[in-house]
């Protein structure tokens, strides 16, 4: 009792003292104000649907944010406590009281903890009131207590203990502060995602999001990790008791402190080891999967034609049997059958008829010895009986367990990424888990783009608890406790979910749309109540749009929208554009659509209504709901992208819920043993046709290159085959596969004709739906149809490193009279001097035209290079299907052609996309400023004429040019990092890569940038930097061979025009209006200071950017002797930026 009295007394007065400190008062007051407003803003004003939709986010967001602040404040208060004790003699009167050090330190600790707990409770109280008031949210009262224990308590105890102990050891408050703040900063910036969050003492990145459906999905990780810090904190506090600078008085309490220290340490080690082993087990499991895959990736698998699966859901495990009908399409006999089954599922028995078959297991691979060899083309049947749970690490062996990579967040909170659920109340098994035997590998280590697809006729029987409902593809029947599912078509995989599901059904145009949701989560019905009658028309319209885009019908009879816990997440794959969220005829949507853009319907309704009222626009509720519904559907299922910010810049990850795969990946499969990337290439290209969304706004503003250019730079160094084997991280493979797909399809179209090929190919895919098509068969079919063999090109396409490179010149435009009609003839010469053939396509930008409407999408504001007036900017980079493409030109190695094109509308500019080539940027804009009126009747015009005489030269013989790409260009020894970065050896990540001029981050070094208007043979690049005092310089050197006078020119790659494009979201289904443009000089550039070195010394020349011509600008005539000539440009300027491109010396004759 005396212990409680003494410790309680110290705690009471410590809390009182701290409560009265200005620091704590300021922090508390600030927290109260900020959190009150934040709660009102987020949860009442409904600003963030992803948070509002899930009720546990109220306590989570509040405590998470408060915790970051209090983890810092605790450091100051705790470190202050010992210093204060030391400094004040007044405290000695307390030290001479009969109280043990154990009681005193614990009292102090409890005093601080209870103070912060009080603050946390007040903040939670505010959150709870807001939670109750909010119309949109339910209250998860348990979450309030759970998060207090998960987030606050371990953080405070650990922070306190660490601060106490360090202060006791170091005895210097300033140094202790620095160390503790350093540790906090390390956690937040560097440690939180490492080794399975083991170092994340303040739960800064620990995924602790609680689903409204399944609650916490990773309690084991959360409990172990948080107890690690709780007990570590306790151990540190006990250490402080023992190190406390006051003579102890109670040996019993000293022993107690030692015992508690030992117990806490042991517990901390125990929970730390648990946390680590969870992480290690996951990575070991991934390694084991990869290793097994590596062993079996070159082995032959059968094809599963039919699979009858029977499954009993037994809480946290399943019991199942799969009756498989397989065939051998390998062209040679199979003396073993290989299947993959999730490694946590144990095979009990394998039989064929009544005969048990021998089998062995290598991790997830089952190798079965059949009773006799299966000859090529023959079939066999077998039954595999198995049971167990699901190892989710199996699903994505090529992704580490690092939560920072492929971050999945709701607001600022990391969400645990789950690929499967299996517990008493809920089950979700996607084909990616291999919950039934699959005759392929889930990942091919030596070629991550490879995939083997079987179109299998499935049937499924499921037994589960009475109150749970199973959901799967196909027609559902039930008898007694068993549910049966029979899909109408062969599928690439089968998904099973079991939960307390409710469902709604809508049939439109013979497709049955079924929504499966959890009770109370169908809020959208109320939010979009006006749509009841219109819904079939809307759905029908959207589906028709999609079908038009893909030139094919939706291949399934049902489309199931299945609500799954918010933690469900699939990693992107290099072998397909599909994600596990989209299954054949089924889309797995996050609970309450929380993470989907445009899903907070009521909030969006209110805000748009208000905005329209402000603008005096009249819209009915129904019209507005139609708009919201369309926005949601398009952004989620058709063209949505998420901008991902990574160390290497920003890239757009397509929405995980795109319906597109259903039109190709789940319907067709092209297979090539020789080129095992072919299906991914086909899918990528076809998928992009509808994916082709707005230009990447963030990426462009940050100065990132287009995907095409990124891919072409990568392909300068690697063949496609090598690159796949290297398996680089990020989206490299994705962009490279897209470029390679574009090239291949453009090759086919260039030979077959654009429209002709498209029509034929659509029909071809429909005729072969749910079949695997061998590329050799496809080759024969193409040859039969178009008399063209593309196969010889594939060897270079896959294995070769060489790229074509194009030079364009002599662009002319004439207005002519043709067949008594005024038309425009545009001609130019194009040459490919490189070793491999190449393709480019051509489109025109026309006078006064808006951009062609593309399925309701509009271009969003991006900084774009161009050189013409108003008009539509076609997204020709990937727009191979659109009518924008006037011509695809094939140039063989060393070929030069004069290209002539006719157009009815006066062109303002010509745009060329070089697809796969050395040209960077690959999208080249050529302004047509001058159109000669030659109103004469012209005879027949040859579209492409090969020029065999003089090869096209890049520059005139009398000119000496040094470009920034040339050896004569020097950008010096650039200091590209701050002193601190240099100290730690952190190099600047962008200094050696090409970018576009960034709207936000202007580098302090000379950054290479690309733009059509810059000078360059293939790479049209320049270097730019932030304007300065002249302390940084670049120089161009050349060797002058003939003495004499030379005119010296500098190249100014001017953006003669900037295009600003208004982002008008929510446009209708028709064509988007043309982007607004304004002609303006880039005001960030002003004066450039060149220094020309010549025989008589040097001259400084100032070039006024505004008055300079776009292109070559004369900066004087000088005499040069045979020697090295030099021109220097410094960063001195009154503008914001300085840019340098190329210098030309032209001999004066």
């Amino acid at each position: 009792m005396s212990f409680l009295h003494n410790a309680g007394t110290v705690a009471r007065y410590e809390a009182k003292t701290l409560r009265r400190s200005w620091f704590f008062r300021l922090f508390s007051l600030g927290a109260l104000v900020i959190f009150t407003f934040m709660n009102i803003g987020v949860f009442i004003a409904d600003e963030s649907w992803e948070l509002v939709s899930i009720s546990s986010s109220v306590p989570l967001v509040n405590l998470y944010l408060l915790n970051i602040g209090q983890a810092i404040v605790v450091i100051f208060l705790a470190a202050d406590f010992l210093k204060r004790d030391k400094k004040l003699d007044t405290n000695e009167v307390l030290y001479t009281r009969s109280i043990s050090n154990f009681e005193y330190v614990l009292g102090k600790t409890w005093g601080i903890i209870r103070l912060f707990l009080g603050l946390n409770l007040i903040i939670l109280g505010i959150g709870l009131i807001i939670n109750i008031i909010s119309k949109k949210m339910s209250v998860d009262i348990m979450a309030y207590f759970e998060y207090l224990l998960i987030i606050t308590l371990p953080t405070i105890i650990f922070s306190l203990g660490l601060a106490f102990l360090l202060m006791s050891l170091i005895k210097n408050q300033a140094v202790t502060f620095l160390i503790l703040l350093g540790i906090a900063a390390l956690d937040m910036f560097w440690l939180w995602f490492r080794v399975g969050s083991i170092f994340d003492y303040m739960a800064f990145g620990l995924p602790i999001f609680k689903s409204g459906i399944i609650g916490f999905d990773n309690p084991e990780v959360i409990i172990n990790q948080r107890l690690l810090y709780f007990f570590s904190g306790m151990a540190l506090v006990m250490g402080t008791v023992l190190l406390f600078k006051r003579l102890p008085q109670s040996s019993l309490h000293t022993i107690l402190a030692i015992v508690f220290l030992a117990v806490s340490l042991a517990a901390a080690v125990f929970f730390g080891l648990n946390t680590y082993s969870i992480h290690r087990d996951k990575s070991d499991a991934k390694k084991a999967v990869t290793e097994a895959n590596r062993i079996f990736e070159d082995r032959r698998f059968p094809v599963v034609k039919e699979a009858s699966i029977e499954l009993i859901h037994r809480g946290e495990s399943i019991e199942a049997s799969a009756n498989l009908k397989i065939t051998n399409d390998n062209g040679e006999p199979l003396d073993y059958y290989l299947f993959s089954l999730n490694p946590s599922l144990t095979v009990n028995k394998i039989t064929a008829g009544n005969i048990s078959l021998q089998y062995s297991r290598t991790n997830h691979i089952i190798e079965i010895v059949p009773s006799s060899k299966l000859l090529s083309g023959e079939s066999d049947s077998l039954t595999i009986t198995y049971a167990g749970s699901i190892n989710e690490s199996f699903c994505s062996p090529n992704y580490s367990d690092n939560i920072k990579e492929n971050r999945y967040r709701i607001a600022m909170l990391n969400v645990n990424k789950r690929q499967s659920f299996l517990n008493d109340k809920y089950l979700l098994l996607t084909p990616e888990t291999h919950w039934y035997p699959v005759a392929s590998l889930n990942y091919y280590p030596s070629n991550p783009a490879r995939i083997k697809i079987d179109f299998t006729k499935y049937s499924l029987r499921v037994k589960t608890k009475e109150n749970l409902t199973p959901v799967s593809q196909g027609r559902q029947t039930s008898d007694t406790n068993w549910y049966s599912f029979l899909p109408e078509n062969p599928l690439t995989g089968l998904t099973l979910a079991i939960g307390n599901y409710r469902s709604d059904t809508l049939t439109v145009d013979s497709v049955v749309y079924i929504t499966h949701y959890f009770p109370g989560n169908d809020y959208y019905k109320k939010d979009l109540s006006e749509l009841k009658d219109t819904l079939p028309f809307l759905v029908s319209g959207i589906m028709r749009d999609l079908e038009t885009s893909f030139s094919t019908r939706y291949p399934f009879r049902t489309l199931t929208l299945l609500e799954v816990p918010v933690q469900f997440y699939s990693y992107p794959k290099n072998s397909t554009q599909t994600r596990a969220e989209v299954q054949p005829g089924m889309i797995l949507l996050p609970e309450k659509l929380s993470t989907l853009d445009n899903s907070g319907f009521s909030r969006r309704f209110e805000s748009q209504k208000k905005r329209m009222a402000r603008n005096n626009q009249v819209i009915t509720d129904k019209e507005l709901q139609v708009r919201l519904f369309n926005d949601f559907i398009r952004n989620t299922f058709i063209s949505g992208v998420n901008s991902l910010f990574t160390r290497n810049g920003v890239y757009n990850e397509p929405s995980r819920y795109l319906l597109g795969p259903s039109f190709y990946f789940y319907k067709n499969n092209f297979h090539s043993a020789e080129y095992p990337v072919i299906n991914a290439v086909f899918e990528s290209h076809l998928q992009q046709l509808v994916q082709q969304g707005p230009p990447d706004r963030y990426s462009s503003m940050m100065g990132n290159l287009t995907d095409n250019d990124k891919a072409n730079l990568v392909l300068k160094e690697h063949s496609l085959k090598d690159l796949l084997a290297d398996n680089p991280s990020g989206d490299t493979i994705r962009v490279v596969i897209a470029v390679k797909g574009d090239w291949l399809f453009n090759l086919l179209r260039s030979k077959a004709g654009i429209e002709e090929f498209n029509t034929w190919f659509s029909k071809y895919c429909d005729d072969h739906r749910f079949e695997r098509i061998d590329m050799l068969q496809f080759r024969d079919d193409i040859m039969n149809m178009f008399h063209f063999d593309f196969y010889p090109y594939l060897a270079d396409w896959f294995n070769g490193k060489e790229q074509p490179g194009f030079i364009f010149s002599d662009l002319k435009a004439n207005e002519i009279i043709l067949e008594e009609r005024s038309r425009y003839l545009v001609s130019f010469i194009a040459a490919n001097h490189e070793k491999v053939p190449g393709l480019f396509n051509i489109a025109f930008r026309s006078e006064g035209q808006g951009a062609p409407g593309r399925r309701g999408q509009q271009m969003s504001g991006a900084f774009q290079p161009s050189g013409g007036g108003p008009g539509g900017r076609t997204m020709q980079g990937r727009g191979m299907e659109t009518s924008d493409i006037l011509r695809i030109v094939f140039l063989d190695s060393g070929e030069t052609k004069k290209i002539s094109l006719l157009t009815d509308v006066q062109p303002r500019g010509m745009m060329i996309n070089t697809l796969f080539a050395k040209n960077i940027p690959g999208e080249i804009n050529m302004p047509l400023n001058e159109i000669l009126k030659a109103k004469i009747n012209t005879g027949k015009i040859s579209e492409e004429v090969e020029i065999t005489a003089e090869p096209l030269q890049f520059s005139a013989p009398s000119e000496i040019i040094t470009d920034n790409e040339d050896e004569g260009f020097k950008s010096g020894n650039q200091i590209t990092a701050s002193p601190l970065k240099r100290l730690f050896g952190i190099t600047n990540r962008r200094s050696n890569t090409y970018m576009q001029i960034s709207q936000w981050n202007v580098p302090e070094y000379w950054q290479p940038v690309v733009l059509t208007s810059y000078f360059g043979k293939y790479i049209r690049s320049a270097v730019y930097t932030r304007a300065g005092t002249g302390d940084k310089a670049i120089e161009w050197n050349t060797l002058i061979k003939d003495q004499g006078y030379y005119d010296v020119y500098c190249f100014v790659g001017k953006n003669a025009e900037r295009m600003t494009i208004r982002d008008e979201r929510g446009g209708g289904q028709g064509g988007a209006p043309g982007p607004d443009r304004e002609r303006q000089e880039d005001s960030r550039f002003k004066d450039f200071h060149y220094k020309v070195f010549h025989d008589e010394g040097s001259d400084e020349i100032t070039l006024d950017y505004e008055n300079a011509d776009a292109g070559w600008n004369n900066i004087g005539r000088y005499y040069f002797s045979p020697d090295t000539a030099r021109v220097v440009l410094t960063n001195q300027s009154a503008g914001r930026l300085v840019i340098g491109d190329a210098i030309k010396w032209v001999k004066v004759e």
Partner: protein, 297 residues
């Protein structure tokens, strides 16, 4: 109840030998510990109140070694440290309440009553709710003594309690201590202000450079100086000469020159009258003459 200090030594890590073989016995009542700055008084005090462990030797209270029975000692201790000025953000009564609670007073009602009684006793009841930090220097000292008294301690240790106080406060403080000394408690008063001792202590010890140089009653100390304090009336010229030769302990300007008191082993060469020494005269005589003699011896 008595304190026995046996062969006590304190050597700090920097080599400073703060206490050298101190042997002392202190009984109930008020005991003064006198000595110049750096004599070792505070070290001795801090050892007695268990804030510090001695290098060697022991301190027994009623035969009980304080290093082995710290809990017991601390439960009977009231301590006022030398520099009792800085407080955390507590009100006057709260500080006393905190001390009282740690002194073992568990009943809140009784504790609050005791807090108010002590505040009244030291004249701080009016500022009961004022922040302790905002009290005047004298008030802080009184608060210090109040907190030292709370919980009925048997041993009260006050270190330099009157330093910096004005005469009124000093007198008030001495009176409080005098009243307390009538109870069955030991009050150990450390000071370098000699007047504090003479007016309140029945026993005293004199420390110099870590050594115990005198132990006895203040009267005994005074007795050492009897016959060695002289009063002289001097012209300005003579004053300079006297100042050179003798320890002048007081100087008053008079019409004809200076009225001066000196201490000296022998009568001075100038016309002088012998005066009866007070404790301050005795302290100066002892420190300047007696101690020098000891050292020479």
């Amino acid at each position: 109840m008595k304190i026995e200090i046996k062969d006590l030594n304190q050597i700090y890590p920097n080599g400073n030998h703060a206490l050298k073989d101190i042997n002392l016995e202190i009984g109930t009542g008020m005991f003064g510990l006198l000595g110049p700055n750096g004599a070792g008084k505070s070290s001795l005090m801090r050892i007695i109140v268990t804030l510090m462990k001695p290098t060697s030797g022991s301190v027994l209270i009623d035969g009980m070694d304080i290093q082995k029975h710290r809990e017991k000692l601390r439960s009977m201790l009231g301590y006022l440290p030398q520099d009792f000025r800085f407080f955390t953000s507590l009100k006057t009564w709260e500080f006393l309440d905190y001390s009282g609670s740690l002194a073992g007073m568990k009943n809140r009602k009784a504790r609050i009553a005791e807090v108010d009684r002590l505040l009244d006793q030291v004249g701080l009841l009016e500022v009961r709710d004022r922040q302790a930090n905002r009290l005047s220097g004298g008030m802080k000292r009184r608060l210090g003594i109040a907190q030292a008294l709370i919980g009925n301690p048997k041993l009260i240790v006050v270190d330099e309690p009157t330093t910096g106080l004005d005469p009124d406060e000093r007198i008030r403080f001495r009176n409080i201590l005098s009243q307390l000394s009538r109870n069955d408690v030991i009050i150990l008063l450390s000071t370098h202000i000699v007047g504090d001792i003479s007016s309140t202590c029945h026993g005293m010890a004199l420390l110099n450079k870590g050594e115990l140089v005198f132990e006895g009653s203040p009267e005994n100390l005074v007795r050492h100086a009897e016959g060695h304090v002289f009063r002289l009336l001097l012209s300005p010229h003579e004053y300079d000469a006297v100042k050179e030769k003798y320890n002048v302990i007081s100087t008053l300007p008079v019409e004809s020159g200076w009225d001066v008191q000196i201490v000296s082993d022998n009568p001075p060469e100038f016309i002088s009258t012998q005066v009866f020494p007070n404790i301050e005269d005795a302290y100066v005589y002892f420190m300047e003459h007696k101690l020098q003699t000891y050292i020479i011896d």
